[in-house]
Subunit: 550 residues, 2 copies
């Protein structure tokens, strides 16, 4: 195994260095360029996915009870890929059987295997990207970037942070206690990293690799077998990733059942797995209902959960009005607001704001933001790339219901995708609300619906933010302000409410984007998530150190 | 504050170095020698405790409802120290009010204050040791070592590991993403360590400093206010420690209510505090009943718990029979078996064992161990120092009931302490059981009662160990064997059951002793404890990192 570790050592070292400085770094190029990935890579990736449709997915696992096709593409493509549906107990048994040999590899051996698998996942970026696009409704560019290189960044980050945590206790020691004139008492000591047990990683329908890889690779690196339970609508990206891992394990003479795929249309399988006494950790990305169920019913497992939140932006003033509007327009439009980091509530003083283009009334800010969205989406090719398709009928329903809420700032429109006529493509809805409409805007409305909330003052916005984040959680908080004192107020509020703050983003980076090796995804300190990609806390409790001395 | 950090920097660096090698290191001398601590130190410490008895303890805290004297010395000394009994909500409010300024100090400032406080605690080692002795029943030597320097080692260890975890994310970064021929996108980033919230540290009756300091100092270092809830029978050692912390905070212009003492005779106060929504973490050392109550009723808080366990030693063979017996005799006698690390079950093959003194039957091993205990305790001065006194009437009752269990190997005797005639001093009871008596030996019997269990074979002992540790937990596991293959079997079993293993200890170190900076106390991976002194996992989730970027 050592050769795999040595082969990828520079990749690991690069990640460790990047994490220590948190500057820009990505070993996996984010541009889906033929120059980088090869002239035929994209076509081959799409063809590879095409070849899987309408058949049994090539995966043999213990306890197979039958085959099940659970995916429903937001683009209206009939995938019809039949996955094995396996018995929960069989998956757990197989995981436990695979554990000792994986354990015995040690941190170095495991890290080598995982880095090799990650490199192979990287080489299949276009295939996985196409699977992400078809299953989630993401546009092609986001599916490639977030589903491919950026997800791989997060995987590498998890491996590297796990490596750091495991390396914190030395493998061995000699303890020599002086005894005055007598010879010292000498003890030899050995410290072993031992995984806590079977890990369950439950994926979401929107980011089936980006939100799955951190838990998957962190759990594996620290010595645990993993059962991956993807969302029934977005199985293929996880299945491909699991298959790569199983291939590498098999090549290395390991039991591939260290990593298995649990597919089922309903929730029973996830519940059976989550409550199994041998399951020691659960990584979960999804809604509050199932998240709370897990908290209540799976007390034997440590839960790392990312759930619903209500993200906010406070617009107090700006010296880059046009840039702010362009930035917000793209932020709200990206993947039709179906990112857990997309802003839902834009808090604007009812009296309007000062800008480099003069004072703008509340209404004017709304009208200008609506116009900026119109402008962004004017070119259809851009619109389809940016918006993607709505992932579920529930999201379509929420957009339609939003039309009756508050005052219209920008109505959502349906667009017909030239290549995928069945796809539900909707432009963002902007609704204006009063500060008293908290019953509306303090509920998560997942999808392309945002509220422009008229607040009495900037300080009232700050107070609202703090209260809202504490009560409902948030992955992101944005601020536009030229007032240093107000920025300080917001910094303090963000610290108290434990939410990441992005200040005066006007170009290049949107509030809903987070970069591996630099940005922490969620703080883990408000109701939207109890863990963070990727802190030591995300990895350090996935293993224990078992010591012996003699 | 910086000067405090600089003043103690070498102490911190020493701890960090020791943790990285896990060799022998202790900055706090364990010998209660007048040469080290001064000729008058012991007498002054005892006088200081004496001066506190029968009065109001000098501590003023918010929400005081009255004074309460809850201690009952196992030595029969009437302490009568009256502590403030405070309202739970007032303590929480005061903690929260003190939090922002503590937070604002940052890791460096907080670490400096805590190291200063720890040095002052160290200077009061004799006073604290005497308080530990009187309240717990420990003998003088253990009260000094475990209550003083060794507890201080664990405190420093917690501070140092917290420092490492907090330093893992840099305080700031500049993120520069190249944009081809265009200027790069540049973001400035700032990362702040923010404590999770009010920490509750619940102490035990036997080691009121050693088991309290790790949670106390880890929580403080990572930015959290702490409410210390000592066991009602062992308040003074915690009170003295809290007072030192409050003194140093006050001197530094900080709010002393960052650390408060919660004393009450019943459990209501602990329950009110534990279930308070603002309480984010609970460190608990104590019995299973309250531990399970906390798990069930305080889901809002992260629980770090050390509870009951059943510790075992497997005696397969030895090439140092006399040394083994001496080691076991001292191990079982230390503080009358009232350590969470004391062996309860000694598993010996029914057919006996091979030793350097020839084959010894099961009965002979028992008789020889009994004789070794007799010999150890023959000198009364040694006996009283080693045994201390029984901490509670329940322990006395358990010893007396044990006389009716299994076959007598060594009967417990009552000794009359020359200085403390009311003290319950009992020598260890050794009972012989058959392997079928699991209903008896798989229950924790806290105190000076151990079982010599006749097992069919060494491998049966290994299986019993693994099953027992998984089911009932264990802090320690010992092994005596000259058979390398059997040692390997036991190493594997210990790894699977996630328990620390001590092999062939025959001198100097007992299975129930663990050294700061080298030995991990508990693995955190079996039912006896879910956390370990001191891994990254013990500290890393006590804070979140709140990021901002602009």
């Amino acid at each position: 195994m050592t050769d795999l570790f040595e082969r990828h050592r520079s990749l690991l070292d690069g990640a460790l260095h990047a994490l220590s400085t948190r500057g820009h770094w990505s070993p996996f190029p984010e541009a889906p360029s033929p120059k980088v990935y090869g002239e035929t890579a994209q076509a081959e990736g799409q063809a590879a996915v095409q070849a899987l449709t309408g058949r049994d997915y090539p995966l043999r696992q213990p306890g197979e009870r039958g085959r099940v096709a659970t995916e429903r593409s937001p683009y209206g493509v009939d995938l019809g890929i039949r996955y094995p549906e396996c018995d929960a107990q069989s998956l757990v048994d197989a995981a436990r059987a695979a554990e000792p040999a994986w354990q015995a590899l040690g941190p170095r051996g495991r890290t080598g295997v995982l880095l090799e698998a990650l490199q192979r996942i990287h080489r299949r970026s276009f295939e996985i990207a196409h699977a992400v696009m078809l299953t989630t409704g993401q546009g092609t560019m986001m599916a490639f970037q977030a589903g491919g290189p950026h997800a791989q960044d997060r995987a590498l980050e998890a491996i590297a942070v796990a490596w750091k945590a495991m390396a914190d206790v030395p493998e061995q020691a000699v303890w020599e206690k002086p005894q005055g004139k007598n010879p010292p008492v000498v003890l030899n000591k050995r410290f072993e990293v031992v995984g806590r047990g079977v890990a369950l990683v439950i994926g979401c329908a929107t980011f089936p690799t980006w939100n799955t890889y951190p838990g998957l690779f962190a759990a594996l690196a620290t010595g645990n077998p993993v059962i991956v339970k993807p969302h029934p609508h977005a199985v293929l990206p996880a299945a491909l990733s699991v298959s790569v891992l199983r291939d590498v394990l098999t090549e290395q003479g390991m039991d591939p059942n260290l990593v298995t795929l649990a597919v089922s249309a309903g929730t029973q399988l996830a519940q059976d797995l989550a409550t199994h006494p041998a399951v020691a950790s659960i990584d979960f990305t999804g809604g509050n209902a199932f998240g709370r169920w897990l908290q209540a019913h799976a007390p034997q497992a440590r839960l790392y959960a990312e759930m619903a939140g209500v993200n906010l932006v406070v617009i107090e003033s700006t010296d880059a009005y046009a840039g702010m509007l362009r930035n917000l327009a793209l932020s709200l439009s990206l993947y039709s607001g179906q990112m857990c980091t997309t802003t839902q509530n834009l808090l604007v003083p009812a009296a309007g704001i000062d800008t480099d283009q003069g004072h703008k009334s509340f209404e004017q800010v709304g009208a200008d933001l609506a116009a900026a969205i119109d402008q962004l989406l004017a070119e259809p090719k851009v619109a389809f790339t940016v918006l993607g398709a709505l992932g579920s009928p529930q999201t379509v329903e929420r957009v339609e219901q939003a039309a009756g809420v508050g005052r219209t700032v920008r109505a959502s429109h349906r667009l017909v995708h030239p290549d995928y006529p069945l796809a539900e493509v909707r432009t963002p809805a902007l609704r204006a609300l009063d500060v008293d409409d908290a019953a509306i805007y303090e509920q998560e409305c997942f999808g392309p619906v945002s509220y422009l909330v008229a607040v009495p003052s900037a300080l009232a916005a700050r107070d609202l933010v703090e209260r809202s984040v504490r009560a409902h959680g948030a992955m992101t908080l944005g601020l536009y302000s030229t007032d240093a004192a107000f920025v300080d107020h917001m910094v303090a509020a963000a610290r108290r409410a434990k939410v990441a703050l992005s200040i005066n983003l006007t170009q290049g980076v949107m509030v809903n984007q987070s970069a591996g090796f630099s940005d922490l995804h969620a703080t883990g300190g408000n109701p939207a998530a109890n863990a963070s990609y990727t802190t030591l806390a995300f990895v350090a409790d996935r293993f224990v150190v078992v010591q012996r001395r003699w």
